[in-house]
Symmetry: C2
């Protein structure tokens, strides 16, 4: 991925920012993100899919390949999970030098109730052969990346593919999947960054050796230069975000907060382990614990945090929040740098002017 040393972003990055979008941070107030506010990253184009003639081909190293219409899938066991998805590149645009790609600041997140059927059930039904080691997911979206024409493809090891909460989903918040979120069918892998939850699924294939496609080996690796093989990007690192208090300036988004007690709030999540603490700093030095509230069901969704703040007087403040999960993973003050700009979960800073 090319790098930029300038703070300004290029026309190419703007083109991506104009079509994909993040969650406006005031929308952190909703436990389940309303349709259209959930972050969106379309790798290529939203493909044209005729849902009536569409079929999912489930094959490869299985005893009984399946070819399933949407009605066939609906006849399988139904499950729903509230899942927080985050783009692996969230925070990328704050790095220096900046990996030039979709230029996320810190808003590439959202929570939806995904409805569909567990992938594990279908894999059992097809019968995995003993030499299968991974499951390969192929989307209907096609494009060119790294000079290579490709359909979007990602794989999962068997252990991860068989996790009971992994879904093939055709519903989002109780409605049919919208086109931009993968209609008619997408994968949803709770706890993992969004690139794993392949949209517009065409096929699911059990394979005998690790898939080495572009999205596994060239993209989505933690590494410092192109020559390193690096480590794969997998689960979501912890992050807390604040819904900025007060009112914004239209252009700068700088916040003005009236003097007096104010409740700060936001959301926190981690795909590595449940969030156990959110801390808030209003003076740049001390950190105090926020209240946590699990107002969305299940393990895989963000929790709400609240923090009462009584500013000591008028002036300029920088508010910060940070999450810690049960495994002791915490957010760093300064984002770790890597070539792709993945998992850049540095602490959010919200400058506010109290008047």
């Amino acid at each position: 991925m090319p790098l930029s040393d300038t703070r300004e972003i290029s026309l190419e990055e703007l083109q991506l920012a104009a079509r994909n979008h993040g969650l406006p941070l005031e929308a952190l107030r909703w436990p389940v993100t309303p349709a259209g506010l959930h972050y969106l990253l379309i790798h290529y184009d939203v493909p044209v899919v005729d849902a009536a003639s569409w079929r999912l081909e489930l094959g490869g190293l299985v005893e009984q390949p399946l070819s399933l219409s949407l009605d066939d899938l609906r006849a399988r066991p139904h499950a729903e999970h509230a899942v927080t998805l985050e783009c692996a590149g969230n925070g990328r645009a704050r790095l220096t030098p900046r990996p030039v790609s979709q230029p996320w600041l810190h808003e590439a997140v959202g929570t939806a109730v995904w409805g569909g059927t567990p992938l594990a059930g279908l894999l059992e039904e097809a019968g995995l052969e003993p030499d299968a080691v991974e499951v390969l997911f192929t989307g209907l979206d096609r494009g060119v990346e790294g000079g290579e024409e490709q359909a979007y493809q990602r794989s999962l090891g068997l252990h991860d593919a068989l996790m009971p909460d992994v879904l093939l989903a055709w519903e989002m918040n109780g409605e049919p999947l919208p086109p931009q979120h993968g209609a008619p069918l997408r994968l949803v892998v709770p706890g993992w960054y969004g690139m794993t939850s392949v949209k517009w699924l065409a096929s699911v294939e059990a394979i005998g050796e690790p898939f080495r496609g572009y999205q596994m080996t060239a993209a989505y690796r933690y590494r410092d230069d192109e020559d390193e093989e690096g480590e794969p990007v997998t689960r979501i690192h912890p992050r807390a975000l604040m819904a900025p208090p007060g009112i914004p300036d239209f252009f700068t988004r700088a916040r003005t907060v009236p003097l007096g007690p104010v409740q700060l709030d936001g959301r926190a999540w981690s795909g590595l382990a449940p969030v156990v603490a959110v801390e808030v700093s209003t003076d740049g030095e001390t950190w105090d614990g926020a209240q946590l509230e699990r107002d969305v069901g299940g393990r895989w969704s963000w929790c709400r945090w609240t923090f009462g703040w009584d500013p000591p007087g008028p002036g300029d403040y920088v508010l910060r929040c940070r999450a810690r999960d049960e495994d002791g993973n915490v957010q760093p003050d300064d984002p770790p740098w890597n070539l792709g700009g993945y998992a850049v979960n540095g602490v959010q800073r919200v400058p506010v002017s109290v008047r």
Copy 2:
């Protein structure tokens, strides 16, 4: 509005681009834009509104002020109109020097079926007094703009406010209005740029002289410098857009098209008069007429255009399309410059590589 002479966009512009978004151009294929793909411009924050206790206050120079709940509004006559809305700043980011604000390239458009009750009926019910000259619409979204703390406010002259197709809408595509599109109630003014269709309506007030608020006098004026009073931005100028053919490169969005006949298609609209022609150029010199199809009902929505193209051979081409309306308004090749970057409807250029 400040200007930038560099091609690169600033962090402030990126912040706006990351939260607001345009229509991914492949979504031009849908006659009515699916939820979440319609362009979105939130001036300040999506406000917190309790729809149960919310009321619309309709007052000012009327004989009988009204205070209406959503149920009260639902008891009035119901109307639906398919309306193409476009942001007045669409195309701004292609200007040099560039007015720095929401940096739209050319995708700030969408078509929805808005459902609600005609404004004219409510104004008649309240009884406009003879000295009323304008109707002022106040939203619940608050922010700072031009150093001035304000609720978002726009006015319409009586003639425009009483147009029969102007709606107070609580439905979008048959569903309750989503929060980001103005729930619980918004104004929809067909044919006008989006800034007029005030979201999150709090009040409608008949007033005795032209409203001189920020969004009428400082913003949304055609002018070349701050000292000019300028002319108000009102109706949507003609524009045609193409759904880029072939497949994209992830980062540059450059298109690759396989050699052979290809159907080009897109949408065209004008708020000034119905679109009567779309022309396409594939060689940079000659223009040929495209087929027009009115696949959405009513006067206020875009039409579809299609054009068969058989590239003479492999190579690089720049595809162009332009709309003309019944009043003879046409798209210029090069966008007209103005300080706010409004109505920048220069012809779209789509570079493609045929292989």
